[in-house]
């Protein structure tokens, strides 16, 4: 145990090991943060949610921080609501049971791109007579544009860009661009815009609530995808999933490989022969194809894929290298001594043979983590990711199938790939350093 401790202390002589440890530590922190910040059920609800969850977000929006690096400033998104007062409103009762609502939101539009869309969501209560709404748009140069007058139902959505009457009135196809342009030059106009909502209800107790959703070109820290989902959810949750998959798969396969190799060498005879034959058969089986088949035909659940991965990774070349070392260890004196005092076979395997191998197990275990992490991402890229879990691979798949590279949504593909790359490199560097520490033959070189 002391030797193990000493070896681990040597890690700090290797800069790459320090970097690797640092990355692994950060990943664990990220994973814990993700699980605390967004509990599992909430993450699934958000990831599987459609328009009802994500209606406030624009589609294909880059992260908001790109505005710091880009000369052209992209419009940021926001949403305001009369319920929480972020959309200021005043409700004044009038004569004969009628009431008037005046709500307005003014915002400073200081960007170089047009927003994607503007939408108003109304909810109202009434018994028979529908409330009436009129919308006005106040531009920085003092014009007032009449948008629409309409009666609203209990749940009513007004989409600026799709109002055909407004299109004819403004003589344009692109209402959003027209609303934010100088009518003379046709170019984008910066400044203070205001949306004015005037409503009338015709019954006592009748109410109107409005939500103004402004879809810019950028959103949040991570941006959004084709389904308006905030990419922060899968980016955060990708960390625990990747760590879980990588660690369980590498731990499971290498520990099982070692145990099986130890059992085979100790009992020798037909047990050993059987293990050797299974290893040769496993060599013939197409690993990736079988995983693809299981994913396509049977189940995409991450647990099934994890189990299959471990099962297929046990009987590989590693079993042969473990075996050759066990064959040497088997002849050593302390095993002889154990046998002499009458230790049982299983006692020798688990208490004498295997503990001797743990230092050799560690580097291989750490080094094989990236392969499994990337395997999960590869399967996701082929469309065989877990249908429920948000993972980094799923983001890449969504981005790839939506032509992110082709259409210039680079953030979408870069965020998960950079995270995956750092994870893979972190474990690989740590594994390399461990290999040099525990493998004396390499240390001399």
């Amino acid at each position: 145990m002391n030797a193990l401790k000493n070896s681990l202390q040597k890690l700090f002589y290797y800069p790459s090991a320090v970097f690797g440890l640092f990355v692994v530590f950060l990943l664990v922190l990220l994973a814990v943060y993700a699980m605390v910040k967004i509990p599992y059920d909430e993450a699934i609800r958000l990831w599987r949610g459609g328009e009802d969850v994500w209606y406030q977000n624009p589609k294909f929006a880059a992260p908001a921080w790109i505005n710091y690096f880009s000369a052209e400033k992209y419009a940021e998104s926001f949403a305001v609501n009369t319920r929480d007062g972020s959309l200021s409103s005043e409700f004044t009762p009038g004569a004969e049971g009628t009431s008037t609502l005046i709500a307005g939101h003014s915002f400073n539009f200081d960007y170089d791109t047009y927003p994607q869309d503007m939408i108003l969501y109304f909810t109202s209560t009434y018994a028979e007579k529908q409330p009436f709404i009129s919308l006005e748009w106040l531009t920085p140069d003092g014009r007032t544009v009449r948008i629409a007058n309409m009666a609203i139902s209990k749940e009513f959505t007004y989409r600026f860009a799709q109002d055909e009457r407004l299109k004819t009135r403004l003589k344009t196809d692109d209402i959003i661009a027209s609303l934010f342009s100088d009518p003379e030059t046709g170019s984008l106009m910066k400044g203070e815009y205001q949306l004015l909502i005037t409503g009338t209800t015709f019954e006592p107790g009748s109410t109107i609530d409005a939500e103004f959703v402004f879809h810019g070109q950028v959103y949040g820290l991570a941006g959004t995808d084709q389904a308006r989902r905030d990419l922060m959810v899968p980016l955060l949750w990708g960390a625990p999933v990747a760590l879980m998959f990588g660690l369980i798969a590498s731990l499971g396969s290498s520990v099982l490989t070692m145990i099986i190799a130890a059992v085979g060498t100790w009992y020798a005879g037909w047990v050993d022969e059987l293990i050797q034959r299974i290893t040769e058969i496993n060599l013939v089986l197409p690993f990736l194809s079988i995983l693809i088949m299981i994913g396509t035909f049977y189940s995409r659940s991450i647990w099934v894929i994890l189990g299959a991965t471990i099962a297929l990774s046990i009987f590989t070349g590693a079993i042969k290298s473990f075996r050759s070392i066990f064959l040497q260890v088997k002849e050593s004196m302390y095993i002889e001594a154990a046998r002499a005092y009458g230790a049982s076979g299983s006692r020798i395997v688990f208490l004498y043979l295997i503990p001797r191998m743990i230092p050799l197990l560690i580097p291989g275990l750490v080094s094989s983590v990236p392969a499994f992490v990337f395997l999960e991402a590869s399967l996701a890229l082929l469309g065989l990711g877990d249908p429920v879990l948000p993972t980094w691979g799923k983001i890449i798949q969504d981005a790839n199938s939506n032509g992110a590279l082709y259409r210039g949504y680079y953030y979408w593909i870069l965020e998960p790939t950079v995270l995956l790359m750092i994870t893979g490199l972190g474990f690989a560097m740590l594994g390399f350093a461990l290999d040099r520490i525990f493998n004396p033959k390499l240390r001399e070189i």
Binding site: P286, M293, L405, L414, L420, G424, A428, F432
Partner: protein, 374 residues
Amino acid sequence: MTIAVQPASENSVAPKVSARASTFLRVSRYVVVRVLTLFVTVVIGIYLTIVIANMGGFVDTIMKGEIRDRVTQTIINNPSYQSMEPEVRQQLIQDTIAAEEERRGLNVPIAVRNVRYLSNALTLNLGRAHNMTSDSGSKQVRLILLERLPATLLLMGISQLFLFFSSILLALNLSRHYGNFWDKLVVTLSPTSAVPPWFYGIFLILIFAALLKVLPFGGMVDSPPPSNPLDYSLSLLKHLALPTLSLVLSSFFLSIYNYRTFFLIYSSEDYVDMAKAKGLPSRDVERKYILRPTLPNIITNFALLIISLWTGATITETVFLWPGLGRTLFQAIGLYDIPIIVGSTIIYAYLLAMTVFLLDFMYSLVDPRVKVGG
């Protein structure tokens, strides 16, 4: 990367007279046993693949449902059948479904079908695909695979051969200048090989196709393909650049590092020091004293490389839309096309078995300590 054949050396003290006859006997007995065990291995491996490829009959249910849907739709939507009596039309649907199931062999019990697949596969009678067709319109599995083979051979051949030779040469060079800047650089960069090729592919597409717009996003030739052979090869080269580069990049540094470490271990042997002390030129030391004993391992790696040419690179081919075998296999799985899955697996298995078998003899040729069947 170590493979099943670990040649054992033995000092047999056979009488000189019968040495030849006993060698022949030993070798032939060895060959028979080895071929038999390898064949049994292949049979079991293929049988397992077949069982997995139809998930113990689960895929049958999917296929039967698909046939039922498709046949019912075609017959109901066919205007010439509209005037038929409902019962007659129902009968027609049932008959067509039965015929279609018979064509796919779905009316035979799964166990029988598995054995049939197995014996067809082992005799390389690859049969006809269920759903996929080759570009020339054939349903023959053999033709479909042969049509995709050149694309995979081209991509994998160029990248793997380049990788193999360049890393051995560079590694030899580095082992000579152990500890210099380049050596340290390779050691530092070797963890980059933890990242798979398709990952580099995405970055390369981003840089060269999306940002710089100098190379295509994917595919194998321009569309429509140029008729002039020169233009055709230029277009091919342009499309080949990124996938090849990503395959090479992803294993380049680790490959050099492995060979370098390997050469270093062998160059620290006493006989190498002895040779140097004798004053042999470093070229001779390298060739005769360092490369020679590492030859079995280098040959093993080369043999595995040749096999990898056949399997292709499924995900890299998918990312680059490269029409190779790896992507075909992925498509076949998506279409439940068991004959293609089995066909490509059996060829891989045979190639592997043959390589393992041949390697035994190769070892005895390059290493005098090794005796076949010893």
